[in-house]
Each structure stands twice: as C-alpha cells, then as structure tokens.
Assembly symmetry: D2
Homo-oligomer: 362 residues x 4
C-alpha cells in the first residue's frame, strides 16, 4: 500500500532509482482523450535532472514509453502504463552507500521499517520516483483543460529569503519557463540563480517555496469532510520529497488577521456569477472549490545531499564522518515546479470525476 493516489483517477507508481525502471499506471482516465508520448515527455523534461547549471548534473534521458491504454493517439479508458527505463548506472561507492546512513535521507528509516534496502540509491524516496507522478500529471492536466479550460501554473516563489513578486491571476507557463530557476520575476530570478550557484560552489544547498495556482476551476469540486480539496492537495504535495510545509490562500499569515479582515465578502459579477471580492480562502470554502483561483504554497527544505563533511553512523551504529563525493544538486526547487503542478492536477482530476459521478447522476 501507499503507492496509489486517488479514487476514481488512480495513480500507482513503481520503481527504485536503481533497477529496471520507474513508471506509473493511471487507472480511470476517461476514454477518447487525445494524448501523445511527446506531451508527457515535455513535462518529464521539465522534471529531469541535469537540465541546467543550477540543478543536479546527473544527465538522465528519462524517455517515456506508453505500454498500454492508448490506441491510435487516444485513451481507451483502460489503465495507462508508462515506463521510463533506468540507465545501467554504476552503483555508487559501496562502503558509503550501503554501510552508512546519509543524514536527513531515508536510509535509516528504510532499514528500520523493511530490514532491507537497495543501497545503490535513494530507493522509493528518490526524487526519481516522481517521474511517474509527473507523467500522470501531464494526463490529468489535459483532462482538466479539456473539461473546463482549467490550467495549473507553479513557479519558484522564494529561495531562502529571496522572494519574488508574481501575480498568480495572470502568470503564464512561458514566463515560468523563461529562466532556469522557474521564477517569473526576472529580476529576482537572477538573484536566485546567483545565490544557488554561490552556495552550490560551497558544497551546500538551499531551500525555498513553490507557489501554485489553478485557474478556471469549476465550482463544486471536493467534499466537506475528509476529502476537502485543500486536504487532498496538502496530502499530495506533502508526499513530494523534501517538503516541510503547506498553506492555501492566506495561509499562516492569515492567522494574524481578525475575522472581519479575513472573510471574503460575496458579490455578483457581470455574468451573474456569485464571486468573492477577495480570495483569502484560496479558492476553497468548506472544502469545496468556489470557482476562484486555487492558490497554494509548498515549503521545500534544502536538499539533504551536500558535499560538506557530516557526522553520522553506519549500520552497526558506529559513529563516522561522511562526505558526499562528486557533484550534487544545490537546489531542487526548479525541478519541483512540475511535481507540484502534477500533484495539484491529480487531486483536481480525481475530484472532478468523483463530482461528476456523485452529483451529476440524477
């Protein structure tokens, strides 16, 4: 268990960072949706390491193959299996990986839980597992766009203390993709890149915040108790590696306001649609989408893999010093952008199908 996400639109990922490959089965995709490997590959390339000087230098081709569920360019309504082969990588140094616990990695908890571990890499906790999520996210995004023109855009909002100014109501994918840090505030992006390079040169790493907006969301997605939209999005993004926090709408800052300052007053717009004058709710009220933009933020800790010397223990519990070799990824946030978009898309797509299933029958 624990490798499936969603109820009507169900995504199951598989694969370790080392071994035959990684991938995903998407069960419940509506039939007759046009989809190509190229569309999926586009998102995988955004997620891929080695795409720029500020991400991990490992080059992974990550070429996807659709094994099932698509025929003559259209979905069949049956499970879509997507496979990305692992490269025949030389395992890293045995002593280091197999014997010692890298600080703030999952090595020790894996051993505690399973009593066995593929010491060649990060196993299922590796960012490589997210390939399956991003592939599924590409399909979910297309369903949402086809249904209501719904679009999801994420971007790097903050690196350490460098915070960008971005308007979530009109930021575009093109703006996000215009620089390697995926921050639509061009001036701030430059400073972010500089900071990442500087800290990376020191063998260290940085964290930050990814912000994400979903626009043209139909009213009525989500349900008022456990499966609230914000609860399911929280679970989705907090299941990404390296996440430490989540907020929607006003978030933690909203706790400083009074109720009269925080409440979103209603009005009727020119099309006769009930709208809110402000959007501190972040597009969700009582767990159900209200048609306003869904806006959320995710905190990513600094990458655990660094090249500085750290104290740790080995499997026998003996204390030792560990120093990462080779190059490392000083900042995961640019690659996390498509991951966050994907998890938000998976949640909204699942809720869309559930809403149609429950509420549109009679």
């Amino acid at each position: 268990m624990g490798n499936t996400f969603g109820h009507l639109f169900r995504v199951t990922t598989f694969g370790e960072s080392h071994g035959g490959g990684v991938g995903v089965i998407i069960d419940g995709c509506p039939p007759r949706l046009e989809i190509t490997e190229a569309e999926i590959q586009y998102e995988l390339d955004r997620r891929r390491p080695g795409q720029s000087k500020i991400t991990t230098p490992r080059k992974e081709a990550d070429t996807c193959e659709i094994l099932s569920g698509v025929f003559e360019g259209k979905t069949l309504g049956t499970p879509i299996a997507i496979l990305v082969r692992n490269k025949d990588t030389r395992p890293q140094d045995y002593d280091e990986m197999a014997q010692s616990y890298r600080p703030s990695h999952a090595d020790a908890t894996y051993d505690a839980k399973y009593g066995i571990r593929n010491w060649q890499g990060g196993g299922r906790s590796s960012a490589r597992e997210t390939i399956g999520r991003v592939a599924a996210g590409a399909i979910a995004k297309k369903i949402l766009a086809s249904f209501s023109g719904l679009e999801i855009v994420a971007y790097v909002k903050r690196i350490q203390d460098l915070e960008a100014v971005v308007n979530p109501d009109n930021v575009t994918l093109a703006q996000v993709e215009s620089n390697i840090v995926r921050c639509p505030d061009a001036e701030c992006a430059e400073r972010m890149i500089e900071r990442i390079e500087q800290i990376g040169r020191m063998g260290d790493s940085v964290g930050g915040v990814v912000e994400c907006v979903a626009r043209n969301v139909p009213k009525g997605l989500g349900s008022p108790v456990f499966d609230r939209v914000e609860a399911d999005i929280a679970k989705g993004v907090m299941s990404l590696p390296a996440t430490k926090g989540f907020e929607i709408g006003s978030g933690f800052a909203g706790t400083l306001l009074t109720g009269s300052e925080h409440n979103d007053e209603f009005y009727t717009d020119e099309q006769g649609e009930v709208r809110t004058a402000t959007n501190r709710s972040g597009g969700v009220q009582g767990g159900i989408s209200n048609g306003e933009n869904i806006i959320l933020r995710v905190a990513f800790k600094p990458t655990a893999t660094i090249r500085k010397e750290q104290r740790t223990v080995n499997k026998e519990g003996e204390e030792m010093l560990l120093k990462g070799k080779g190059r490392h990824d000083p900042c995961v946030l640019p690659r996390a952008v498509p991951m966050v978009e994907s998890m938000v898309a998976l949640v909204l797509c699942d809720h869309l199908l559930r809403h149609q299933g429950q509420c549109k029958v009679l």
Copy 2:
C-alpha cells in the same frame, strides 16, 4: 465518498449540525482493547462549545453512546458505532440562514455542489462534525498508548502574534488543561485570553497556530511515497474546519537554512539506538517515522462567524448586508486542540496497523 479516513483503521463520520445526530463508525479497531464511554466523553468535553468564556457560548451536552463493537468493556474487533444526539434546536432565522451566503462559510459552495442544503446550520462543514473524529481519536490514542506508550499532546502555540514558549519534548496534558486557552505557557496564556476577550467583545474573531507533538513513536510507521506520515497528517489536519496551513519539523522557517545547517546528524545513544542530534525533520525521514518526536503545526484562520456587518449575496445573487446575531465564538483554537490530537492519532494508528500487517508477516 469523502467521509471515511484511514485504511486499516477506518473512521467514517456522519451527521449534520441539525438533524437526528452526529457520530462515527470505527472499523478495524483491534479486539480486546479496554475502552469506556467515559474515556470518549472526556475528549468530547474538551472539544465541546460553551466550556469557557472564550469559546462559543452555545451549550451542547454532546453525550456519547456506544452502539456497537464493545462488549463488557472491551472492543470486539467489529465496527464501533458512536452516536451523539443533536438537541432539538430551534432553527435559526430562516431569512438569514436559508437565503443568504455567510462570507467564508460553505453555504455557497454547498449550493453549487449539491443544489440543496440544510439551511439550519453549517451542515457537514460545521465544527459539530468533528465530534465523530474526536470520539475515534480517543480510541486511537488508547491503542497507540497500549502498543508503545505513544502519547500525543497538542496546545495553542500562537494567537495572532502572541506566541508561547513551549518545550514539545516534555509538555504535559495537565499543563495544557491548566487554562481555558489550552496554552501551556501560563504567562502567554493570560495575554491570549485577554486578546480573545477584547476582540470578541468587538464582535470579531481571531486565529492562530496549534502545535502538536507525538512521543514514543515506534520507528518504521509510514511509507516512502504517497502515504508518508507527514502527508497523511497534513491531509488529516487540513481536513479540519478553518485550517489554512500545515508544517512539520523545521517547516517554512527551514527554507531559510542551508543543507548543512538543516541536516540532522546521526549518533548512537547509550542504549545503542540510532538517533538524530537535532530534529529538524520533525520525526519523519523519507516519509517514515524515525523514532524522534513528531512535531507539527497547524494554522487556523479567524472564525468566519462574526457579529460585524458584512456584504454578501442571497441565493438569487442579490447583494445585501448581513450581520450575525446573538453571541459567537471569537476563537476556535482551544477547542481545536483535541481535534488536532485526534487526527494525528488516527493517522498514526492506521500506519501502525498497516506496518504490522505488511512488515511483520514473514
């Protein structure tokens, strides 16, 4: 769907704020656990409105009845159904509740989703729904305590900008319950109460942050992909009414550090146990509990129900002014403390059963 939480320890709640009653079915509770209605009632009383001058003045007795699953004081391993009757309350004013949308409530989204609404109250979005969660949480806490002495303590960490100093490693339930705001920092608690009363008198409301710690957590709970401990806790607490944010361990503040500052170095303690010298991970690494204390925070927005005049629209979309009548609850946080504890307990209990089921077979 959407009213069930958990996989092996499954909790399904039912009931609107108005109607016959609210309650819960707990499916998957291990057999032979000693449990009494009194233990459940204790937690329900902590959650109950009207328990002090700073919460909602509505008096609700909220007396629970165990309908099934317990025999001669012990669980049978079969579903435990718990019912709390609603009082035969006079519905509130028809015009106000049935016709207008209260700002930042779920009235409008309910109508958009279901096309029907029990206008007598908040329906399933009412805090009254959490009775079932807290009752289930009482049982989950007892299972966890019986299994490994695991204990969960939550408390009010911050009201607006008033932040308490609390040591999560040794804070006790008695300290939490020593004042009506459920903040173990006695000096700060006084200022919090004063603030809540002051703003409440103005017909307004406040928000803040609840912090929660789980101690004596066995290593190995959770799994490395979607069902990470922190992801499931995030979903659980973000499904509580009025929540806007979640963080674990270092949280959003952790994004300001570098990797070398943030990583938790390992050492071996006197019992030969692998431990971390710091706990920025918050007790979870790679989605799996590492035996350190699980520490998390939840942001609650200021209560939406206020007595100040607000602009809104009615069901016909006509703009109007709305002013809450009678008394209101200026601060939900003291009552949210047992809710947060319960959701954390539900998640850990489910993961404990799953871990025993998957990993302890061979």
Copy 3:
C-alpha cells in the same frame, strides 16, 4: 475493515445482534433524491423475522430512524445514517451460548480470530446485520429506478428439490409478495410452504436457491477486469450469511454446452438497438452490462440453527451435546429475497456512479 461495500456509493454497516443497535452509513448518495423512512421501512419489513409462520418466530419491530443526510424529504449528498435499535433482549442461556460452539455457526472462528466474542448472539455474522444492507438497498433501488427505470426483482426459485417455473423477464414484485415463501409460482409455493412446515416441525431446516433479475439496466456498467459486474455481484451476494454458491446467466449448466450452443448471437431490434437473441451471458459480457436482463442465482444452505441434538465442543475443547431450545427459523430464503435484491442494487448503483464519473466527463 471489511464492513464497507462499494466505492462511489459506499455502504458501511455496524452493530451486533445484541447491544445498542444496528445500522448503516451510506456515503455517496446523490443529492436531491426523494426518500422517506417509510420506503426504507417497507424493505426492512420484508427482511424482518416473525413475519409469517414459516420464518423465525422472533418478533423484531426493526423500526428505522434516519439520523442524517436527508432534509425535508430529500437527500443532501452527505452521509445518510440509519439506525435500528436492538430490543433489550434477555440474553440466551449463558452456558449454551457463551461456552459451546454451535455447529456451522461462527462462534469458533470468532474466538479464533478475535479472542473475544459477544456470546449473547451471532455478533456480526447474525442475519440481523443485514438490516443495514437492506436499508441501503432501498435507497440504491430508488436511485436506479430514477436514473433509468431499472428494477430488481428476486424470488425463491427452489426449496430443496422443489423448483419453481418463473419467467424473469416479466415477474413482478406483487407476484413475489403474493405468498409467504416469496415464490411467484403459486402452485410450487404451496408445496414449498408445506415442505418447510413439515421439516420445521421436525426441528430441522431447509435450503434452496434465490433467483434475481435486474431489468432496464443501462449498457456500460462495470469494467473488464477485477470490477466486472458479475464479480462484484458475486462478492455482494456471497457476503450474505448462509450462501454457498452463485451463478449468472447459464451458470453451471452452461458448462455442458458447446461454444456454438452457448454464444449469444447479436441482432438489431426495431429501435435500432444492438441486442442478443439469447441471454446465456446473463446481461453481462466482458464484465460490462450489455442492456439485456441481468439474471443470477444464489444458493443458500439450510439454516444452521436447528432443534436437533448435535455433537460439538466447548471453549475448553471438551466434547459435548448441544440441543437448540425454543423455536427456530426452518428456512431463511423468504427473508433472503430482499437481501439479494439489496446487494444487487448496491453493486449496480456503485457502478452507475463510477461509469458516470469516468466515462461521461469528456
């Protein structure tokens, strides 16, 4: 786990034969469906013991109360909780029930599984548990009827070797209800009643077969792999107490034919609809409904509770003789008729919602 049935239309039952009560939560019922307690009560009365001279003489009022999810006669789209109180029955003889294992009851397996048992009755294996299923079935039937005029009729097809002649394509509820054995073949029904009374007087019991037909089934329900319509119906009816077999369409008899004898040839009817000339498939092909009538049969063993002396053991493993006291139910089949209808309705309703959710989105 194990007390929930369905995915989008989810039914969770609770309650032992002794204790506060039994009931059900229905999660996922579409909103705005008109439903009354009287409609549910009608089906519960069909299921009720003591309704005629050939069923168990225990009189149970089984009055249902809707606790939530219905407002002003219409469903809200939220969980519908239904409660039926247990009567304050005097527990049966302690020595007999608590200490000995009744042959072909669940007493011994309960003790083996849970290590604890409510010795006052059959616990969750009691036919009393099916109250929740039948209540949920009443709602499922109404949804199906509202959606496509779908109707489900079950009846007693066979008692021991007494087999009725019934045309499933036009049998009516009125015909089924026209006699106490619920067999629409009036002549055969008389012989069945005679047989049941004769064997019942001897302190013994009989079994037989219930047949069930669903008419006006929309094409396209079900899916081609695990969640085939016939697989889900098989699970549903085989989860009823005392069932030993299931077949659909040609069933076991179909294994005697050749492929050319068994295949259902296609033709186009006057409305231009693709139909099958025969219906050995029983309304399902490749796991998906084809619009023909779904026809199935369920084998019920003779009731385990008899008044004849039997050998058994007590909890200490000591061999002993056991003889049921008081009156007993010589034949469960008339009461099983609404149970079978309900399980078929739950399956079809769940598949209807899932089909609308997955296939009607784009």
Copy 4:
C-alpha cells in the same frame, strides 16, 4: 478504477492483448521474501497458450521481467512491477475485428461503455490480461507457503459431463501437471482430452469446472460481513474471463440437504485442536477460515471464439455472418487452473496481512 485487487496486498494489472505489453504492480508485498523471475515464469508457462495440442495454438513466449521491488533476490517491501512484452503481432483482419461484434465477446459492451476500442484484439477482456494476475499469484503463493506452509492446488474437475474423481485433501501439483488437461484423475483425463480434440476439430469449444483447494490455512482469515473469505474468493474467480458460477464447500448441492445433514459437528483432535468432523462449510464459517481445507469450484463457459459461422451485427448495426478464421482454443480450462490458484492466493494473502495488521497489534 477496477484494475486493482486487494487492500494490504494490492495488485494492479495493465495492458491490452495488443500494444506494448501487459503486466502488474504488486503493492504491499512483505520485505525480505526470496523470489526469482524463474519462479514467476514457471506459473506464467502454465498459463501460456500453445503449451499443448488442446489449447490455443498461438505461441506466446510471455517472458517476464521484474522492473522493481526486488534487490539481490529479495523483495524490498516496495512495489514489484512485472512486465511481459507483447509480440509485434500483425493485427487480425480489419474488417472482421474492427467492424463486427464477435458473439459473446466484449466488443459490443466496450463500444457501449468507452466509445472507443482497440479492435486488434480482446483488449482488457482478453485472457492475456491474466498474465499479471498469475505473476502476482506466484508471489502470493510464496508468501502463504512461507507463513504457514499454506498450499493451493487447482485442477480440472469436469469437462462438459466428464467428471473426475479427485481427493482435494491430498491431490498434488505433480498429479495435476501429469497430463495436458490438468486433471489428476488419469483415466478421466484421457477421455477429457479426447472430447476436447473431437469438439475442437469441429471448430467448436467446451467448458467445465475447475476445483481448487487451499490446505494449511491458518484460522482467523477473513471477516464476518462484506469481506468474508468466500465472498472475496467469489469476486476474485468470477473476475476471470469466461466464468459463470462459483460454489464453496457443499455449494449448490448443499441446498438439497437439511440442516441436521449439512451442519459440520465439532470435535477435538489429538493435538487438542478444535476441528469439524465434516467440511460442508468448505473451510469457512461466518466468513472466517476455520483451519479446515478451503474447497471451491468455478464454472467456465465454453470458449466464445469458435470457427463456426455465427450471426452478428457490425458497428453500424447491420446484420451479418461471421466465421472465425485460423485455429482456435477449444478449451480454456487447463490454462484456467493457474488463474484460479492465483486469485485464491491473492485473496488469502490479502486477508493474512489484514489479519496480522488488525488482530495482532495488542
């Protein structure tokens, strides 16, 4: 949805008969189980078409590849993905397959449900989908054997009216595999083979019954309501292609007995274990395994694909004649034997993990 089976031991299959490949993800396999591709391949070879003169002549190599979840010959506790490539088969004749509906196949229901269909083959309804199930079943069998020496043996019990005499309490895999029809009654097997060849030469096909026994089943698997062992097995086997009926223990024949004839009396064996003197219950009482052998039978209809001329319609609803070309599979039952074993194994393995998870915690 509908492509996943199980709760703690979860199996998700993918793949059409045509396209990149078919396979399975097994989520929840306990860690540290020794497993090799050869063990899985052995079961796949039993399922493979073309293995003897009486099955389908299509030669499929069906070589499996473990993509993840196994490291150095042991399971990791993470998802095990297994892939079997499809051969680059020339699609069959377009006119026949794409335009006409083969009688008693899923062509028409697919079109009704999805509005699209891979006309090159049977899609997900193809027996080829069962490759994933059999691969997963190989692993489930190994877990069960490791846990309690549990063994599952299935065999052909009947072809049309030719019924074998087999003792389920001691039949062995070697006896089953000793002839091509997989019937351990050697004399009857010869007559079965003769019958299959004779009817096959006429372009027609036959059906029959597969019987399956599970021995050394621990007491306590299953639960008393929806997830009864027999209900879950019924669902599992009735989700196999071409199944029309299921029975456990005394089955349909048991309906002819009286309660006093049918009840299984208890006694205490020499080891002090509570046993039943007879086993009409088929190893399950109240939905829970009682430690006796689980014995069940599955009815398979004659294969739908024949070489005789049949009436049907095309997609436009025009009536036409259809005659299968090439060779066909006159009898699916020998290949169905490992399929039935696999589904029984999946159910028991899931219940084992759930039982350990729920009942062995306190």
